[in-house]
């Protein structure tokens, strides 16, 4: 694979114009993701209403792979139920683990990130947002009103 095949127009478009990059006033769930090895950092805000993701946004900095992954994530999970979101998280991470397969029906546009698998050092750039979402939705209670910082996941 040459890197031209990985850095597709879809990834570059999301990198240059990330969707839903903004803070959120009253999120129900928040989590921070940080990869101290490379410096990728994000804060994910989710608003869950009636078991559904009514709104999702993020702030943070990272490489093109990381930014595209989180940008597409926010588009894909908005409107999903928590169960559906869990399934999508598992499908995405499942695509990037060793011997993992991509479920194209479920993942849709996210399959553009499949090529990252060949660059071992970069897999975490793509998965950090998804682990962070998992933590925000299914970690211990993060809806406590005083928990401004939320939970934190640190990938090593």
């Amino acid at each position: 694979m040459t890197l031209k095949d990985l850095y597709t127009d879809v990834i570059l478009d999301h990198y240059k114009n990330p969707r839903n990059r903004r803070e959120m006033e009253d999120p129900t769930n928040v989590a921070n993701g940080h990869n101290p090895l490379c410096g990728d950092k994000l804060k994910l805000y989710v608003n869950v209403e009636n078991d559904k993701i009514a709104d999702i946004s993020f702030i943070g900095q990272g490489c093109a792979i990381h930014t595209a992954s989180i940008s597409i994530l926010t588009e894909k999970v908005k409107g999903l139920t928590l169960d559906e979101a869990k399934e999508l998280i598992e499908s995405f991470i499942g695509m990037l683990i060793e011997n993992g397969e991509a479920d194209e029906d479920k993942l849709g546009e996210l399959v553009v990130l499949q090529g990252v698998k060949e660059l071992h050092a970069r897999v975490k750039c793509a998965t950090l947002p998804w682990y962070t979402l998992d933590l925000a939705l299914f970690g211990e209670d993060v809806s406590a009103e005083d928990d401004i910082k939320g939970l934190e996941i640190r990938l090593k």
């Binding site: 040459t2 410096g39 490489c63």
Partner: protein, 426 residues
């Protein structure tokens, strides 16, 4: 032991020791340079500041030692142990010669610079520092010269001060003069930056430390690999470096310290090898340097490092430095021609490394694209997070150089940077 008999022979080199560095012949000594890496590309290795490559002479010396003299040191009556001890002490003498040190007993083998600086911080620091004492470091330091002092500072209630950098990326000497004061007990600074390749004015900084009676500690991780080091004229108390950045193996490094200080200091690690007599309740210590070499050392590593030092001395560090200066000027010129490149540090001269970013491309993406073109570079904070904060960035792409790099390597780097810019539509 027959003291005069050499156990591990000095390296045989097939290149000329006169005139400009014979880089083509030198490259032939480095087997890794024959590697084909991603997409069928030949390797361009620009990550020597993270780890330099090893010449065949070092690899063969270690193989020879392990094949013929594999035994422990300082404890055997038998021939192999005698030879292993000879080889290990021979390596110590080679390092002393490399550093311009007349007393080889001042050379302590450790694992790496990190361990060397921990040794100073703990063995000297715990017993000599008092609440309120100040330690002066700089924002340019590698984490290995920041974190041990943070630990000691917490333990002993010390004050840490950090010399800032000027807008050009050099240490701010006026601020240094202000920060180094009567309460300063230690000044510990990096000789040559592992990020932007700036060479710090150690004579000025040493004078400031001496004026207030502070210890002066030098992190020589980069400088030891790239320039002539003469510890008889560099006025410091401790000098630390790692073998793997100077054509040697990993797991072996050096702390040089002044004998008077080393003799006063208690051990850092304790146990086997560093004792004189052991009782059930207390023990006495072996003399320096064994006092600081607890446990069986990395004997093979020391042998390899000794040969690496000889190899570099044969090349002549003034010649290798001139070669690197040429390469770096060429690389800076070519990168600047491309446009849209930010090079950190506005320096008239730099050695060993260039840190840069392509505007609009995160360094991790840059390094991945460089890698796909066969160019090994590093992206991230290079174990110097506070320095990146001081430079006003999160991370950078770093290319670093050694004796085996060529202008062709830089041409390949430039081609890869152009491809990165094309991919990102810049």
């Amino acid at each position: 032991m027959n003291e005069s008999k050499t156990v591990v022979q000095e390296p045989h080199c097939n290149w000329s020791k006169e005139g400009p560095l014979d880089v083509a012949a030198i490259r032939a000594d480095f087997p890794v340079l024959e590697r084909i890496v991603r997409n069928g590309k030949s390797l361009v290795y620009l990550d020597s500041a993270a780890r330099s490559l090893m010449p065949i002479q070092v690899i063969e010396a270690m193989k020879h030692f392990d094949s013929n003299h594999c035994a422990n040191v300082h404890r055997g009556i038998h021939l192999l142990s005698d030879e292993a001890t000879g080889a290990y002490e021979e390596a110590r003498a080679r390092i002393a010669s490399y550093l311009g040190v007349s007393d080889a007993g001042e050379i302590i083998f450790v694992r790496n610079t990190t361990e060397a600086l921990n040794l100073v911080a703990y063995a000297w620091g715990i017993h000599n520092l008092r609440s309120g004492d100040e330690i002066v470091l700089s924002v340019m330091e590698h984490h290995s010269n920041l974190v041990p002092w943070q630990q000691i500072a917490k333990m002993k209630d010390l004050v840490l001060k950090h010399i800032p950098i000027t807008p050009s990326g050099e240490l701010d000497l006026a601020e240094a003069e202000r920060l180094i004061g009567q309460k300063t007990k230690i000044v510990s600074l990096v000789h040559m930056s592992n990020v932007i390749g700036v060479l710090n004015p150690m004579d000025d900084l040493s004078r400031m430390a001496r004026n207030v009676g502070a210890l002066f500690v030098v992190d020589g991780s980069q400088s030891a690999a790239h320039m002539h080091i003469d510890l008889s004229s560099l006025d410091c108390d401790f000098f630390a470096f790692s073998g793997y950045k100077m054509l040697g193996p990993t797991g072996i490094g050096v702390l040089w310290g002044k004998r008077t200080l080393l003799e006063e200091m208690p051990p850092f690690l304790s146990g086997g090898s560093m004792i004189e007599e052991v009782g059930l309740m207390s023990s006495t210590w072996a003399p320096v340097p064994q006092k600081f070499e607890a446990g069986t050392p990395n004997i093979t590593g020391a042998v390899g490092l000794g040969i690496a030092a000889k190899y570099i001395q044969r090349m002549d560090r003034n010649r290798t430095l001139a070669h690197e200066h040429n390469l770096i000027s060429y690389a800076v010129e070519r990168l600047n021609e491309l446009g849209g490149i930010e090079i950190y540090g506005d320096l008239s001269e730099r050695a060993s490394a260039i840190a840069f970013n392509i505007r609009g491309i995160h360094p991790h993406d840059t390094a991945s694209i460089l890698d796909s073109e066969g160019v090994a570079a590093r992206a991230g904070h290079h174990c110097a997070q506070p320095f990146h904060v001081a430079l006003g960035i999160d991370s950078s792409t770093r290319v670093s150089f050694q004796c085996y790099n060529t202008r062709t390597d830089i041409d390949r780097l430039i081609e890869a940077v152009i491809i990165a810019k094309e991919i990102f539509g810049l």
